[in-house]
């Protein structure tokens, strides 16, 4: 079996009295896509926020390889190799595609905060920017200001930014949300390519995409894991059918 890249051990997060995430454990393996599904409010985004460090845990541990990163700030985790996208597209709308991605590359270029010299002259950052842009198929749009791109392209850009940070683990929060058919197909192909050499956690409502992509599947409801395993195993799980999949009438 391949290497575990990131694992959650008994993660908990409370918001006041609400247990948004309770006792969630899962592993993300190298060269695999681990999909997490569940109804609205199940705690999927909260789980990603706990793994990325955007919000602190109420209990449990996050391990990156063998390293305990539970107490690390989000920027430190990013430097250690955890990259993420957001459910609501989070890019710099008034900047171009190139500038957005270069910013991500800059953070990992070794002189992220250098005060001398124009940002434009960082050849290492420029090179990884080009690479990430072409990997996501945005080369044609390199000079376009993000605001003026289609929603699908903006989501692609967000993935390009994640790629430019050279991550070992990628956490994607509903990357297909709001996309048209053609855009969704392109994004699915892109996500499939991401797992090469990395571990991917995919939160997604689009069941066709999930079953097309997932190597491993976890179902959450009310902050808890109700089933986990191979897609086929989960699909036939009775609790899952009643709690979640039943509403969606999966035809696959």
């Amino acid at each position: 079996m391949s290497e575990i890249m990131l694992s959650a051990k008994g993660l908990q997060r409370r918001f006041g009295g609400l247990k948004a995430v309770s006792d969630v454990s899962l592993d993300i393996f190298q060269n695999e896509i681990h999909a997490v599904i569940g109804p609205n409010g199940a705690g999927k985004s909260t789980l990603i926020n706990l793994l990325s460090g955007d919000i602190p845990v109420s209990g449990g541990k996050v391990l990156l390889g063998a390293r305990d990163i539970t107490d690390l700030a989000p920027n430190t985790r990013a430097m250690a190799g955890v990259g993420r996208s957001y459910q609501k597209t989070t890019i710099f709308m008034d900047s171009t595609v190139f500038e957005n991605v270069r910013l991500a590359a800059q953070a990992h270029s070794g002189h992220a905060l250098r005060m001398l010299g124009h940002v434009r002259n960082d050849t290492a950052a420029n090179a990884s920017t080009q690479a990430a842009i072409s990997e996501t198929g945005l080369t044609e749009r390199s000079g376009t200001i993000a605001r003026f791109m289609s929603h699908g392209e903006q989501r692609q850009l967000e993935i390009a930014m994640v790629l430019a940070t050279n991550p070992r683990v990628i956490l994607l929060d509903e990357p297909l949300a709001g996309m048209g058919q053609a855009e969704a197909l392109r994004m699915i192909a892109l996500i499939r390519a991401l797992k090469q050499g990395r571990g991917v956690l995919l939160v997604e409502h689009d069941m066709d995409a999930v079953f097309a992509l997932a190597d491993r599947l976890t179902v959450m409801a009310d902050g808890q894991v109700i089933a986990s395993g191979s897609p086929d195993h989960v699909r036939n799980h009775p609790a899952v059918r009643t709690a979640y999949l039943g509403e969606h009438e999966v035809a696959a």
Binding site: G83, E99, H108
Partner: protein
Amino acid sequence: MNRSLTQPTNLALGLVLILLIALPFFAPNYYVQFASKAMLMGMLALSLNLVVGFGGLVSLCHAAFFGLAGYMLGFQSPESAGASLWLSLPVALLVVAAVAAVIGTLSLRTRGIYFIMVTLAFGEMLFYFFHDTKIGGGSDGLYIYFKPEIALFGQTLIDLDNSRSFYLLVLASLVMTAGLIRGLVNSPFGHALQAARDNERRALSLGFPVFRLRLMAFILSAMIAGLAGYFSAAQFGFVAPQMLGWHLSATVLVMVVLGGMSSILGPIVGAFALIGLEEVLKSAFEHWKLIKGLIIIALVFALPGGLQQLTRLVLPKSEGPHTGKDSDNQPVEADHAANLGSLSDPMTGLIQPPMTSANAKGLQHV
């Protein structure tokens, strides 16, 4: 990139600079001193804009850094001679940097309105420290009888008692500070700072140490404010607690807003405009403060982008859809830039934050 450095802007800037250099050679002494004062306010506004405009951090304690450096010159000035600038200036700036590091470390943990309130509180603490203790002469302040000396091997290089020399030194410092800020804003550091301003969460998840970044900007900005305060104290030969008070901090903030926060030179324009306005009104009306307030309110309403809008209206536009060769290759982006207006504008192009279409286009040719 080519488009943002269009001739009209450079020409206008060059002309203004030549005019400023020439001014002390034909203007009466009073105006030379007045202009020195205005330029020092411009430098203070410039420093504040580094954190406000590019960092998104509205600080209300920059007058405290300004005044603190003034007091540091006062403490280091003997009664019978001038302090050596070579020694007293670095000491003043280091003290300001140390104080800013402490204030920044504590206040940068807060955001938005809380940051404003915490910096205000720290500024007032410094004010009362000098107001209520005997250290700096209490509320009476401190006299600086002799201007700092700039000498090498016993030979005076620049005589600051000569108001023309003083003016030229201040002008040179202002130009240097503006250049420094322009370099910073375009550097990796500057881009990271602006990214944290636009979306802190995103900046963090990309890996930027946002707190450290802001602290560095805060300290640097405080030191530039200190430079202005040092020269200001030297010019007037006097420091008083008012120099550290929130009133000045707020006034400088108005200068920044009037001049336009998204530009590098805007705050200087704002400072000149506000101080000039004050001077004109003072000589013409008895209730000039009231009139000044009304004019500022009117300006803010009329010019949402600050006074910069005015210069944009005054300066000739670079005409034609394809002024730069980049846009010919990429008609789509040219259209987009045109839609955005300000991004492709010749005036702002030079002095705007760098994350614009124009820059990226230049980049593709690297």
